[in-house]
Symmetry: C2
Subunit: 183 residues, 2 copies
């Protein structure tokens, strides 16, 4: 994986810890200070683009809502189709749906059934890799529509959670990210 | 307003009508075929960028989730901060909130209270202008944080709904868009 230590340090300084959000005991990684800095946004976009190209994707599938922010930039810079992965009921046309396990209960994501041409290599992008449940569900949707999972792209990896290992074990692909948090 | 008739025709052909979504009697404008075409996505991004530059913004405020798709591209191309405008409870830090009227009841949007520096000219971007309620609420948030509403940017205007007129009357700004639907 292409990894830039200097950018990682800049992102670590910019990303803001929000304790007890969205619920008690969780420390949320707030990326809005990165988005607020044109310099950091350019560097982040460049680094994500470089990683994304290494997967040679035909299309970018991005998970709403934060995944749309850099996902669309990736699609534009790589001249690829942009495929929105959304929560149930948010896509207007016919969809396919996959569920995944949360700490308590389950959640689902959908894509349009006409979003992927058979054989397309699809890169899955989201802002953050935690347990990997959402990315896994998105990857299963790609496969159900006869696409190929080209890779996984994130801004942030939480290395104290099993998402990276889960995706590696199941898809035999090293997920790409720009910054690794150990707490 | 900068307006490209050839691009408008291309977008009209690509955007898909979904009858009775999200509820009976509403015809939804589905932009996913635009996002699926790299050529249309590039042309749309270029045209939105050209319009956006004419407002000379210091920052781009984009409404979740579809507004994030071209909003982040605008922020990157204009080298501006990207400010997410989100539904209540979705932003992790301290927020300010504005409500607006829907056909039945009300809805609200929020931005982070530290998102805007006083005096910044902020361009508000979303995918579609209908009644203008969301864009108006976003503009009120900009003003509450002592920003200046620089302009409004959309891919689609629904000219049979009063959004364009409402925003013109209140902010004395002609909203910019790429395609105008009369039904």
């Amino acid at each position: 994986m292409i990894f830039d230590r200097i950018l990682e340090e800049k992102l670590k300084r910019a990303i803001r810890d929000i304790p007890d959000y969205p619920k008690p005991g969780i420390v949320f990684k707030d990326i809005t200070p990165v988005l607020a800095s044109p310099e950091l946004m350019q560097e982040t976009a460049h680094a994500l683009e470089r990683q994304a190209r290494s997967f040679r994707p035909d299309a970018i599938a991005a998970v709403e809502a934060r995944g749309f922010i850099f996902g669309s930039i990736l699609a534009r810079q790589l001249n690829c189709p942009f495929i929105p992965v959304r929560k149930p009921g948010k896509l207007p046309y016919r969809t396919v749906q996959e569920s995944y396990t949360l700490e308590y209960g389950t959640a689902s994501v959908e894509i349009h059934e006409d979003a992927i041409r058979p054989g397309w290599r699809v890169l899955i992008h989201d802002d953050l890799l935690a347990t990997g449940g959402t990315a896994d569900a998105a990857a299963m949707l790609v496969q159900r529509l006869n696409g190929v999972v080209a890779g996984f792209s994130f801004m942030i990896n939480l290395e104290f959670l099993p998402g990276e290992q889960n995706l590696k074990n199941k898809y035999h692909i090293q997920p790409a990210y720009l910054v690794n948090f150990n707490r």
